[in-house]
Point group: C2
Chain length 260, copies 2
């Protein structure tokens, strides 16, 4: 089977042009097929503020109304995605920027209203791994913005971590997949205040213990739940690392590697 590395980068890297350039140089050096999924950073929030669009929060959760979705489509689907694609082209990576709507790669369903109406938010229904595999065979490198679409032709805001996980899992049909979550910490930490306290390997039992002890904090839980789910569903390796340590992390000499 072909080797495929699916990498997710978070907003903090997107917001820092020098950090983004370093990350993209490392990404361009990865061997084998690659897919990048990016978040949007603070630019969307800043853009919304400049345009006088207020962020709606319900019970501490952000609601995506149509005007916020338009900003997300402009900033994530346009500005951030195309700048990354052009930079990768200059690094000799034949990148192709996509949302889930493009080539019907990631179909979603507008999240049903229960207690909260999240607005234009999409829960992933189906990844077209055949279509994505077709791009990879052509030596194209898909770069996904975290936007999906519904059958009725709506664009939908989708969590980038979830999108990375869903794409990685579906591509296991054709590849040995490594999924890498790059963020602002050096990995999963024993002590959130000590960046050198990286847990090198983490299995579900240890994860439960760290959660019970309160060592692994709120923000990390959905990320790790997503990550373990990917492993359980056929992804060979899941790594959580700092964006500056992508190359080392793929060689398992940095970051946290999850195991079953």
């Amino acid at each position: 089977m072909q080797t495929l590395t699916v990498v997710k980068i978070g907003g903090n890297v997107i917001d820092d042009s020098a950090a983004l350039n370093r990350f993209l140089a490392a990404f361009s050096g990865l061997t084998g097929a690659r897919i990048l999924i990016h978040g949007g950073g603070k630019i969307a929030t800043q853009m919304a503020a400049k345009l006088g669009i207020e962020t709606t929060m319900v019970d501490g959760r952000r609601i995506t109304d149509q005007s916020m979705l338009d900003v997300i489509t402009m900033v994530y689907g346009g500005l951030v995605n195309k700048q990354i694609v052009a930079k990768l082209q200059a690094l000799d990576v034949n990148a192709i920027g996509l949302t889930g709507a493009d080539a019907s790669t990631v179909l979603a369903r507008k999240r049903p209203v229960k207690d909260i109406d999240y607005g234009m938010v999409g829960d992933i229904e189906e990844v077209d791994s055949g279509q994505i595999q077709f791009f990879l065979r052509q030596e194209l490198t898909p770069v996904f913005a975290p936007i999906t679409y519904s059958e009725s032709g709506e664009l939908l805001n989708t969590n980038a971590d979830t999108m990375a996980s869903a794409i990685a899992v579906d591509l296991t049909r054709h590849n040995d997949v490594t999924l890498v979550y790059c963020f602002e910490k050096k990995g999963v930490l024993k002590n959130p205040d000590d960046d050198s306290s990286v847990i090198n390997e983490l299995n579900p039992g240890q994860y439960s213990e760290y959660k019970a002890a309160g060592t692994i904090n709120k923000g990390m839980i959905p990320k790790l739940d997503n990550a373990f789910k990917a492993l359980e569903n056929g992804v060979k390796r899941v790594i959580i690392c700092h964006a500056d340590e992508l190359a080392a992390a793929v060689n398992q000499s940095a970051g946290t590697t999850l195991t079953l």
Copy 2:
């Protein structure tokens, strides 16, 4: 050879959601392979104004500075492009939104500074027809925003008419190409004030006469120059028509058909 229809739609259709929906329905009904190139309309100018970015004009020409390019990338490459893609998906057209940077489809060179520095404007250097053909063979419908890229990884603003013409010409290597320019008039008019005065067929000799007589006006000249250049370079048919008459125009029962 396969039949390919390359269609360019202008900004006035983009700005009118009902007109855009009618146009996309007609576009989805075209038989054979299709490519769409869209302009951006007034949304980019409006967005720039809202963000406090002033449009720089030199000698009556618009200059694309970096902040204006960012707005164009957001609006054309993001909002407009992805909304069209999602709407086409709902019409069962497997659309893929692209800028020239995506899959290195349209490479350009930043326009050299002579009398005027146009800023971040790209003159097309090379269309990768092999790559575009590869999408067509996969039954994907490319939807291009009028943005290209340079080898050094800059995004560049490019005229949508020129981009449509360059793509149409290059795709003649693999296809019998029809190029359709859709705009707000019913075709090339004998009398600009009389929408029923459509010239059904126009050859270069007649074009020269109409120009000499002042019948064909300023805005139409670069469009028709582009159009005749496409015919001279292997495009089989060039049609200029109203966006509402796309289907009829492709059957040569509406609009102006250019001949050599």
